[in-house]
């Protein structure tokens, strides 16, 4: 596509944006990939996120239950495997956000502890 371009690029100022690298600000175009990048967020250990998209096969805890570290809270079925969702620490179930049979996307919050 761009192979067809035979004349020097015209400068269209509005296309350019400020872009900082180190302590210097450059005028340049930004790419879709750059604009769509996900900002980093500090992971919240209290929320169990679906690490893979899948289907909730079984749930063993409900709101208000006490759980021990290592206890299986639910099974997330993905790629023909039943993956155990384990309590990361001793705590109380603040809420369960999924039900059996529900299809969850990656990083969906399934259960939260306090």
């Amino acid at each position: 596509m761009a192979n067809k371009k035979k004349t020097p690029t015209e400068k269209v100022d509005s296309e350019f944006q400020d872009f900082r690298v180190g302590d210097t600000i450059y005028r340049t175009k930004l790419t879709k990939a750059y604009l769509e990048r996900k900002p980093y967020t500090i992971p919240n250990k209290k929320s169990s996120l679906a690490f893979i998209p899948g289907t909730i096969a079984e749930i063993f805890v409900k709101k208000g239950d006490k759980v021990k570290e290592g206890e299986i809270m639910m099974l997330l079925e993905a790629m023909k495997m039943k993956n155990r969702v384990i309590a990361p620490f001793d705590g109380v179930v603040k809420d369960v956000y999924v039900e059996v049979g529900q299809v969850v996307a990656k990083n969906f919050v399934m259960v939260e502890l306090v």
């Binding site: 596509m1 761009a2 192979n3 371009k5 004349t7 020097p8 690029t9 350019f16 872009f19 690298v21 180190g22 302590d23 210097t24 600000i25 450059y26 005028r27 340049t28 175009k29 930004l30 790419t31 879709k32 990939a33 750059y34 990048r37 996900k38 900002p39 980093y40 998209p53 899948g54 289907t55 993905a78 790629m79 299809v103 969850v104 996307a105």
Partner: protein, 515 residues
């Protein structure tokens, strides 16, 4: 039987076989905006140069009543011909025959023509248009793919391998194109993915169209799997022919030489195109055009990782591989994708005796958690590896900024560039003047009555002293500081005297690059 009858029998058999999947299937193919497999071969190759083999091959499937079916040529056409007068081996999957599905004999035909290409030391072109494995042939179909992948790998760096995706290319089948040198895609026709939309929906509940998942645009812009994007099959074939004018026929040859033509310097005035201020953008492709033969530049992967530019140009009639930071996009930073893009192109040029010209103007690596977590260390290292390993003539031109790791990575003299030229606008330093002054004079600035004023003074001081090519030139890291309009002269001379360059690398089976 007389000769006449035998000949007419042959003709009858041939006319049946060349019909592929029959009129109805051909009609369907055409209604999708696609040419038939045979039309594609004829369109791509030089006129009347195509010779076909294995036209009468039949499939070997016995189960699921397949023995009662006849599949013309088993869904793939193989043969030889010429492009720009040079020999090539070619195969084209025929979607009109059982959806171009790959069975045992289908794969055998492909591997046969690949073996020919390797023996004859000529390029292999694969036109992919297939629904995937022929399920009825089970493990034999998988075996077929494996045999193709092995040959792709063995042929890599020996003969040019071109994949043209003109239909679906799904599942394991996509790994053959991925192993080849260049992948061509056409808008609305090409579709490549490992798992298709149906599987993704049933397993993961994510809904996506085939086009959005693995269409031509996606692979040309987002994934980097494709190297050339066209809007029609005809345009695509034109791109293939143009590519073949720049590359050698095998790894022992040089690409064709063309009559030399000066650049169109009235259109591409480097003094006008190039801003001296390191923070201002410009299109580096215009700089290439200001020095290349006839101001031509054949770009590869135009849309993906556009912050680096790769492609072919000619100098004094001979092909040169260009790698250039693109200040127009993300200020020309290096990142995961641009490192991958450039590194693979450098290894391609090195494998096929194409000298490298590197144009440098970058602020360094792209900062960010996403880049670090995506493995920018590992990906960035590919660039160092590829440049260091390359033994073809390596010429580097530092135009403006060359800071820190970016300076080293862009074919510096330390990675054994043969000639490093710099324009007087070059700034070779560990980092930009502002950052450097802030660190070096931190205490002084902090203790000053007016820190901001002192900072400005110190930045200016640093700029004057270090933001130039002369510090590096004083150590001999730059061979010549040259005026802008002398560039072509220096490059032509460097290329001319590098023609019999030979470098001995330590004996090894192969390296272990940071793939």
């Amino acid at each position: 039987m007389s000769l006449r009858i035998k000949t007419s029998d042959l003709r009858k058999r041939m006319s049946e076989a060349v019909k592929g999947g029959g009129d109805k299937a051909i009609e369907k193919q055409v209604s999708m905006g696609k040419m038939t497999a045979r039309e594609r071969i004829i369109e791509l190759l030089d006129s009347k140069s195509f010779f076909e083999y294995d036209l009468f091959v039949e499939h070997a499937a016995k189960d699921f009543d397949m023995d009662k079916k006849k599949l013309a040529g088993d869904g793939v056409i193989i043969g030889t011909g010429t492009i720009n007068g040079h020999p090539v081996c070619i195969y084209a999957q025929d979607f009109t025959v059982a959806g171009g599905s790959l069975g045992y004999m289908h794969a055998r035909k492909i591997t046969k023509i690949m073996d020919h290409a390797m023996k004859l030391k000529v390029p292999i072109i694969g036109i992919n248009d297939s629904g995937g494995a022929r399920i009825q042939e089970g493990v034999n179909s998988l075996a077929g793919y494996g045999e193709i992948f092995y040959r792709n790998t063995m042929a890599s760096g020996v003969i040019p391998q071109i994949s043209v995706i003109l239909g679906p290319c799904a599942g394991g089948a996509v790994y053959s194109p991925a192993l080849t040198d260049y992948v061509f895609v056409v808008d609305k026709i090409s579709k490549m993915f490992i798992t298709g939309p149906e599987v993704i929906k049933s397993v993961l509940g994510e809904e996506i169209t085939m086009e959005a998942l693995g269409g031509a645009q996606v692979h040309a812009e987002k994934t980097g799997n494709a190297h050339f994007y066209a809007e029609s099959e005809k345009e695509c074939f034109g791109q293939i022919k143009e590519l073949f004018s720049y590359i050698p026929w095998n790894n022992t040859k040089k690409a064709d030489s063309f009559p030399t033509k000066p650049p169109k310097t009235r259109t591409y005035k480097v003094n006008k195109l190039f801003p001296a201020d390191a923070t201002e953008p410009y299109d580096v492709r215009d700089i290439v055009r200001s020095i290349s033969d006839d101001s031509k530049f054949f770009e590869v992967q135009t849309m993906w990782a556009a912050n680096i530019v790769i492609g072919f140009a000619r100098f004094d009639g001979d092909t040169v591989g260009i790698v250039a930071n693109q200040p127009l996009v993300l200020a020309g930073v290096l990142d995961v994708d641009s490192s991958d893009k450039a590194a693979r192109f450098i290894r391609y040029c090195d494998a096929f005796n194409i000298p490298l010209l590197t144009l440098v103007d970058l602020p360094g690596y792209l900062p960010g958690v996403d880049q670090e977590h995506a493995g920018v260390i590992r990906h960035g290292a590919k660039l160092l590896y590829a440049y260091s390993e390359a033994t073809v003539p390596k010429i580097t031109l530092i135009m403006r900024k060359a800071y820190g790791g970016g300076y080293i990575a862009m074919c510096s003299s330390h990675l054994k560039a043969d000639f490093v030229f710099a324009w007087p606008t070059a700034e070779i330093a560990v980092m930009g003047p502002t950052g450097a002054a802030n660190i070096i004079f931190r205490k002084e600035i902090a203790q000053a009555d007016d820190p901001d004023a002192l900072r400005e003074i110190k930045i200016e001081e640093y700029k004057k002293k270090y933001a130039n090519p002369y510090v590096a030139a004083a150590y001999g890291y730059i061979d010549s500081v040259i005026e802008l309009n002398e560039t072509r002269k220096f490059i032509l001379h460097a290329l001319e005297i590098s023609q019999s360059k030979s470098v001995v690398i330590p004996e090894k089976k192969h390296g272990v690059p940071p793939f």
